[in-house]
Symmetry: C2
Subunit: 355 residues, 2 copies
C-alpha cells in the first residue's frame, strides 16, 4: 500500500512535531455536500450506501477532493455491528435509526453472536480496502466503531432515545446481564476495529455518543470500562507504523482524567469542554481532538476564521492537537463555510508549531 504523503494527522495524535495543526470533521462525508446527496439518492437508501463499497468509497473521498482535510474517515454507520448481529437496521427519513428486532430478554442477549468482520461485515472491510487504495497515500484513513454502551442503547431502545429508560432499567435492575451484553459488544468492536486496521485503517476512533447520558459512576462501570477493554485488544502497529486510537465521549468533559488513563492516544472533545483547561488536565497523557461548536459554521466566513483562531490559541503551542468540530457537521451547512474553517486552520496554525 502507498506510503503516506501527508502524515500530519498521525503525527499530531502521537504528539510528534508537525508543521501545522491537522484538521478533519466528524461527518465530513455527509449531507451538507451536494455531491454526497447525489450519490445518496442514487443509492436509494442510507443502508444501501453504507453496504456498497464503491459508493462508500466515493463519498469518503468527496470531502478530501473538495477540501484540504488532513484525514479521511470511512463512510459507514456506528450501528453496523448490531445490524450484523441480526437486529435489522433501517433508517427512516428524519427519525434516525430503527432496529426491527431490538433486544428485550436475557435470551436475546445470550443468543447474540459475535460477528466475524470478514464475513458479516465484509462490506465494511471491502470499503476500507478500496478507500485506502484510492487514497493513494494522500492522507490517512480513520476507521471507527460505536462504543459498546452506545451500541447497547440503540439495541435495547430499538432506536434513538431521549431518556434511555429501557437500557438504563436493564442497567439498574440487571447489571450482570447488562455486563454480558457490553462484554459481547466489546469483543465484537475489538475484532471489528482490528479488521479495519488489517484492511488498511491507519487510525481508529471509538464514538461513545451516549456515554454522557450516564451518571459519573455508571459511566465508569458501563461505558469507559469497555472502551478500555477494547483499547487493550487493539493492534498497535502495522509495518512499524503506530495506529493511533481516539476515544470520544460526547458530554464526557467531566471525566477526561479517567478517559486519559485508558491507553487511548487521543481524546475527542465536545465544544462544551474548554480545550485549554483540558490540555492542562490531561494534555501530558493524550493528544486532543476538537472542538469548535458545530453551529459556528452557520456564521459568516470572517466569524468562522475568528472562532478557529480562538480554538487554536486556546490549545496553544506545540503538537498534540487535531482540529475538529465538537460534534458532527450539521446537514444544512454551506460547504464554503467549511472551506473557510479548513483554510483558517492551515493559515493560522503554523505559528503554534515553530520551534
Amino acid at each position: 500500500m502507498s506510503k503516506l504523503i501527508n502524515d500530519t494527522f498521525i503525527r499530531a495524535l502521537l504528539k510528534q512535531p508537525v508543521a501545522h495543526t491537522p484538521v478533519w470533521m466528524m461527518r465530513q462525508a455527509g449531507r451538507y455536500l451536494p455531491e454526497y446527496r447525489k450519490v445518496r439518492e442514487q443509492a436509494g437508501s442510507f443502508m444501501n450506501l453504507c453496504t456498497n463499497p464503491e459508493l462508500a468509497c466515493e463519498v469518503t473521498l468527496q470531502p478530501i477532493d473538495r477540501f484540504n482535510f488532513d484525514a479521511a474517515i470511512l463512510f459507514s454507520d456506528i450501528l453496523t455491528i448490531p445490524d450484523a448481529m441480526g437486529l435489522g437496521l433501517s433508517f427512516s427519513e428524519g427519525e434516525g435509526p430503527k432496529f426491527s428486532r431490538p433486544i428485550t430478554t436475557a435470551q436475546d442477549i445470550q443468543a447474540l453472536a459475535i460477528p466475524d468482520p470478514e464475513l458479516e461485515l465484509r462490506y465494511v472491510m471491502d470499503a476500507v480496502r478500496l478507500i485506502r487504495s484510492n487514497l493513494k497515500g494522500r492522507v490517512p484513513l480513520i476507521g471507527f466503531s460505536g462504543s459498546p454502551w452506545t451500541l447497547a442503547t440503540y439495541m435495547v431502545e430499538g432506536g434513538s432515545s431521549k431518556s434511555f429508560a429501557k437500557v438504563k432499567a436493564l442497567m439498574f435492575e440487571q447489571p450482570k446481564l447488562m455486563h454480558q451484553l457490553l462484554d459481547k459488544l466489546a469483543q465484537s468492536v475489538a475484532l471489528y476495529l482490528n479488521a479495519q486496521i488489517a484492511a488498511g485503517a491507519q487510525a481508529v476512533m471509538l464514538f461513545d455518543t451516549w456515554g454522557g447520558a450516564l451518571s459519573a459512576d455508571d459511566y465508569q462501570e458501563f461505558s469507559l470500562r469497555y472502551a478500555q477493554q477494547i483499547q487493550a485488544s487493539l493492534t498497535r502497529e502495522v509495518d512499524g507504523q503506530v495506529v493511533p486510537a481516539i476515544l470520544f465521549t460526547k458530554g464526557g468533559g467531566l471525566w477526561l482524567e479517567s478517559m486519559a488513563n485508558t491507553g487511548y492516544d487521543a481524546l475527542g472533545l465536545d465544544w462544551q469542554t474548554d480545550i485549554s483547561l483540558a490540555r492542562q488536565r490531561v494534555g501530558a497523557k493524550v493528544a486532543l481532538q476538537g472542538n469548535m461548536d458545530p453551529v459556528t459554521l452557520y456564521a459568516q466566513p470572517d466569524i468562522i476564521t475568528q472562532k478557529v483562531r480562538t480554538v487554536l490559541e486556546k490549545y496553544g503551542h506545540g503538537s498534540g492537537h487535531v482540529f475538529n468540530l465538537g460534534h458532527g457537521i450539521l446537514p444544512d451547512i454551506n460547504p464554503e463555510h467549511v472551506k473557510a474553517m479548513v483554510d483558517a486552520v492551515h493559515q493560522f496554525s503554523p505559528a503554534y508549531h515553530t520551534q
Copy 2:
C-alpha cells in the same frame, strides 16, 4: 403569613445544621401523579392550568399532600416571561412549547417591553400568594424562572431546538444585539423573581436548562453573566429571613467553579456530575442540590433505596445538601417509586447530620 414549621430546606441551602437531608423533586407537581392529570384535563390546556391561580395552587400542593417533601415549588412554566412580552406561548401535545411570534429581527428585540409582574404576570403572583397561604407554613415555597439564555433560545428558535442554530447564529453574528436581548431578559427575570419573593416565595431557583449547549466561553458571556446580574438584584431578606437562591445549569458540571462565584447560595447538579467531587470543588462556597439520575425511578423500590443511599454517602457528612433528581421527573414514573425515594432520604440521611 404563617411561620415555617419545617424549615429544613432553607437551613440546608444556608448550610445551617439540620436533622435530615431535605428532599424535593423538579417537576414534582406533574404528569406522573393521577391527581395532577385529573386537574390538567379539567383545565383543558397546560396554559389554562398555569394561568389559573386556584388550579396552579391545587397541583402545587398535591405532591406535598401525598409525599413527605421538604419544599413545594410553584406550579408554572419557565416561559411565562416571553409570553407576557407578547410572543404567544402555546403547548402542543408531545411537541413542547411554541411561540406564535418568535423573535426574528433587531426591531423585535428593541420592541420588547419588560413585563410588570403584578400586571402582565399577575396570575403567577396570585398563585404564589394562594399557595403560600394554603401551605400554612408546612414547608417553604420555591419560586422560579427560566434563565435569560434559556428564555432567549425559545424566543429566537420559536420553540424547542436540537442544535440552537438560530439563537447561536444571532449570538455569533450579532453579539451586541444578543446582549441587548439578554439584558432585557435579565431585568425582567430579576423583577419577576423579586415579585415572587414579595408575594411569598421563600427561596428562588433559576433554571438554565440550555446553558449546557454553549461552549465554555459562550456560557460565561451569554448565560452565567446574566445569572449573576440577576442574583445581584435579588431581594436578600424578608422579615429577617434570608431568601436563598439556587442556580441550575443542566450540563454545567464543568463550570461549577465559576457558577459558585456568582453569589447564589446553592447550585443544582445534573446526574452526570459526581456530587462528591462537586463538593470538593465548590462545597466551601455553596450548598448543592441533586442529583440522582431521574431514570433511576423506573427501577424497583429496593434499587431506588440503594441509589438514594449512594447519593447521600457521596455528599457525605454535614449540612449543605438538598436531595433532588438531576433533572425533572419523567411523566410515566410510578408514584410509589417516588415514595420509596423520599422515604429513603428521610430514613438514611439523619446519620449524616449527627454532631
